[in-house]
Symmetry: C2
Amino acid sequence: MNMDTKHAPIGIFDSGVGGLTVMREIMRLLPNERLVYFGDTARVPYGSKSRDTIIRFSRQIVHFLHTKQVKAIVIACNTASAYALETLRREIPEPIIGVVKPGAKTAVSVTKNGRVGIIGTEGTIKSQVYSDYIHELNPELTVIGRACPLFVPLVEEGLLHDAVTDEIAGRYLDGLKRENIDTLILGCTHYPLLRSTIGRIMGDQVKLVNPAYETAVELRDMLAKQDLLHTGLSEPTRDAYQFYVSDDASRFRSFADSILPFSIDCTVQIPIEEYEAQ
Amino acid sequence: MNMDTKHAPIGIFDSGVGGLTVMREIMRLLPNERLVYFGDTARVPYGSKSRDTIIRFSRQIVHFLHTKQVKAIVIACNTASAYALETLRREIPEPIIGVVKPGAKTAVSVTKNGRVGIIGTEGTIKSQVYSDYIHELNPELTVIGRACPLFVPLVEEGLLHDAVTDEIAGRYLDGLKRENIDTLILGCTHYPLLRSTIGRIMGDQVKLVNPAYETAVELRDMLAKQDLLHTGLSEPTRDAYQFYVSDDASRFRSFADSILPFSIDCTVQIPIEEYEAQ
């Protein structure tokens, strides 16, 4: 592996802004890496769309990231990880990881009573991908999934601490509470923003798993194993991070500024549907 | 105008399923017309996306409808009508109408006290297009807009009659109530499904305007004026109606079946982003 590849950026993508919570963890854990983020804000959300459509969109994004000569790709979106990861892995040369496997792995190590809950979009839950990964690691565990379609719009409307969100969360989580789970995976990158509401409803005995941090750890381990870690010691400058979106950049910036530890000066809008398979 | 053109279908499009409420009115008023519906279910919703993106998407859809040799086009989506109608009208040869002008016209004729409210997506409200049309007709009127971003997700989650929807609607409409309006335009094709909730909150003294019916009337008048009305007398058969979507067809069918007076046998998924400007 030559130095050029080590110094190449890592590509990260999501349906919109939620993946920035994953990017933030990667910035913290791998401060020397250059990162290119793409948010598919023109076609957000992914959660209620079909497998084929999500694979098509993800493929276009990967082709866009290839134009940035990325050395590795992180799918920072649960729905796209659920539907597109295995397909993309067969199609591209560079390593690619999603958020689902790290989240599943953590849940398996955390649960004491063997009963794990998972909340996510309709697509993520329907795919059963969390359940599949968990059972690969430990077939004895019981996994109970629940789609929470209103959580993303509630977060985007800013109702993080609100009676309506409490009421909706109560309904979504009621069945999971009665299932006696001791671990709950926040299987959508927006959900950590509702952590306090979800935690209060589920109670202290249920441990909440946010796959973002574990994804950063898996990324680091994978890069190290493949001798792809950036070995420089310099602190990254702001221009180490590039942001691209498919819709107007200004809306993205204001949300990004609330998640990231610095403000984004420059976000570039690109016509993502033109990045077809080469 | 030759007979072939009169017998050509009318194209109708929306970001998803909401435009079917407009199609239903067109079916009733113009039972002899053939109709081609396109729902952009892979990229829904439009309401929170930018003008440029909505114009780009709408242009692709119009190019797709051209492959069906439509004689006229109806934009059955408030956001796309608000952002894309005037641009598209300059670009294409056949007549095209939206839902905004008919809704505005009705509101102007309905209001007694000159105070009109309009609810819609962020895009529709921000565009001020309802307000502009209303002031063209009567500059004396006062128009008050309010975006209601959670209404679409609540409808799609099926919470048509629910305490949470009541609570959210109460918050959105509270300001409008205090503005002493006597007319309220339901400026999004999903909102008629919340008519009873909205009506109860606004009270009997506020008349609700649903642009769907008036859009069908405007379409009929425009076709008549341009000698484009289908003059046959035969009742349409099911194959007079064609349905196309950009995501998986099955989800669309189940919602469509709840809106239309018959069940849809065949909906075809197409790759809409490939219909670029020729």
